[in-house]
């Protein structure tokens, strides 16, 4: 009864292995193409074999890792065509919500968004990759929530993961990250000004991540 639940990081032990592997893929700690040997994961996350297997199965359902029968699982190699298509889908969904967002916006939600945008900027400087990634997610989640379609919010979060498995290539330059931060604030401005068309334009540009990425030869 009076048993201590955990020492310090007890909660993290409790957490699902799937989440841990997912995070390591998203942060680039497990690069694309890496073979995920069950024994390695077992030791890495200090968990049992069935837990590892369930995590791998779930991630392969989400198409984040690929499964080759009798060979194992490896991190999905990002595909240019797929990345573009997922980007297009996100633009369709998120710009379609722009009207609703403007209709539902309040001073409170503006304030909340501004706070999340600032938090993102902070994390750019002081946070870990994961914190930064999640700050970005939180902002876009809050923004989309204004659309009033909960299912759509979840869906976008979901498909977001499908190509962000290439965090290195997309978030490489500091210039790009800082541009993202500015774009967040510009979106809030457009929202406050009730300018639907400008908001749509900004969302599309933001998702497309225009090719200012220096082609490393």
């Amino acid at each position: 009864m009076s048993e201590v639940q955990s020492e310090t990081a007890g909660v993290s032990e409790e957490r699902d292995v799937t989440e841990l592997v997912l995070q390591d893929i998203l942060t680039g700690m497990l690069p694309a193409g890496t073979w995920l040997k069950q024994i390695d994961l077992e030791r890495r996350y200090d968990c049992t074999r069935p837990e590892v297997r369930r995590a791998l199965d779930r991630l392969s359902q989400k198409r984040l890792v690929a499964h080759v029968p009798n060979r194992g699982y490896h991190v999905y190699q990002p595909d240019d065509r797929r990345a573009k298509e997922v980007g297009d889908i996100r633009i369709i969904l998120e710009t379609a919500m722009a009207d609703m967002m403007v209709a539902n916006v309040t001073t409170d939600s503006i304030a909340a968004l501004r706070g999340l945008a600032r938090y993102f900027d902070e994390m750019t400087l002081t946070g870990t990759i994961l914190e930064h990634y999640e700050a970005n997610l939180a902002f876009h989640r809050e923004l989309l929530l204004l659309g009033g379609n909960q299912e759509l919010v979840d869906l976008v979060s979901e498909i977001r993961q499908r190509t962000s498995s290439a965090p290195v290539s997309q978030w490489r330059t500091r210039a790009r990250i800082e541009k993202s931060g500015r774009e967040h604030h510009m979106m809030i401005d457009a929202l406050a000004a009730r300018d639907v068309e400008e908001l749509k334009r900004l969302i599309a540009v933001h998702i497309r991540q225009p090719a200012d990425i220096p082609k490393q030869v």
Copy 2:
């Protein structure tokens, strides 16, 4: 060695249990709210415990069944709000593709669609619920394929399953089904006429499934 593999449906034995459970949910053979006891499924599909568990885990990831720890899994109770939201998402995605569809349409694709629409009509009369469901899926898949976004096709197929778990309520009346069949052909007509706006309107109406369903009191 000369052992007979199976009596008749030998191939179906080889198939994934997840698919089988999914089909039974979709066809209404396992109604919403049903508790899916592992032993029952084990016997029903003649498979092992781990197979059942993996199937249940996958389906709960897809939000088709709900998991209550230490209590088991049960078929998801369809939620009106969610159903509406998923419908809205489908309308956004599928109407957004209308321009591309019209741009990419050929006489061959018209012919293929016409064939699938006719096949759907046939299945209305002679097919099983599953065949009918799949004929419908095949038509919409082929239609969406014209949009040129493979990821979007898969995504729609996926989210389609999220609410079609209430097949009874949506496909109840024969009148509604026949109306669906006619709408398919009207979509093809609009496509052949390169009429984007009409196509969008038809898609929206078709997905929305206007309330001609007799409210059973």
